[in-house]
């Protein structure tokens, strides 16, 4: 579905609101309703168990991590791939 949206921006040019043609708005609402109706159920018991195992292992893991390395910064860097 192609949207012909228009934006209302603040004095800094930051997008604040969206204006959509009414028929596109109606289609969007229908799609959201459809998507909501087909939403998958919550994690079943078979997915809870491996999650519990993972979390239990996390309590026991004792990685000798170099204290000079900022783990969170490293985690951010992995996302920081630039194409240009």
């Amino acid at each position: 579905m192609q949207l012909h949206e228009q934006f209302i921006v603040d004095s800094q040019g930051k997008k604040k609101s969206v204006i959509l043609p009414f028929d596109e708005y109606q289609q969007l609402k229908q799609q959201l309703k459809k998507h909501s109706a087909s939403a998958k159920p919550v994690a079943g018991k078979n997915r809870q168990e491996p999650l519990s195992v993972f979390l239990d292992h996390n309590k026991k893991r004792k990685f000798a991590v170099d204290p000079t390395i900022d783990v969170s910064a490293l985690a951010d860097q992995v996302n920081d791939v630039r194409l240009s």
């Binding site: 998958k40 994690a43 491996p50 993972f54 292992h57 783990v71 951010d76 992995v78 996302n79 920081d80």
Partner: protein
């Protein structure tokens, strides 16, 4: 369903920042009730970080085994195409974050991350609820 960015998973595995370690484990545990999503992209990034941290190969293998049991979602051309659209809108940077967002859009309604700098830009471009910790 909740999709966690890789930094949440990494902080849950690695105990360095105690506050984040406890918070991420709590959030992941709580997500078991409402449904969680992990992707192969998450796992790839987690392994990359553990390698950078010089964690023993055997220990990384154990983490990988645990994560593969969580039924990770793969991405396909559809998500890459969507990631490309998002990347185009934010200036063709942070393509992995765009791909995380596209995968999360497909499988969940909430994305949780510690990465304020990059996901703040994406908040305006997606109907996902992006929670920045």
């Amino acid at each position: 369903m909740v999709y966690f960015d890789s930094d949440v998973w990494i902080n849950s595995i690695v105990r360095q920042n105690e506050t984040r370690h406890k918070q991420s484990n709590r959030l992941i545990r709580e997500s078991g009730k409402q449904g969680y999503v992990i992707s192969l992209l998450n796992i790839q990034e987690i392994l990359f970080v553990l390698g950078k941290l010089k964690v023993e190969p055997g220990e990384i293998a154990e983490v990988l085994n645990d994560l593969l049991l969580l039924e990770p979602k793969s991405h396909q051309g559809k998500q890459l195409k969507r990631a490309g659209i998002l990347a185009d809108r934010i200036g063709y940077r942070h393509i992995n974050d765009c791909l995380h967002t596209a995968i999360a859009e497909e499988h969940s309604n909430t994305l949780i991350t510690y990465n304020k700098k990059d996901f703040q830009k994406l908040q305006a471009e997606t109907s996902l609820e992006i929670i920045i910790l």
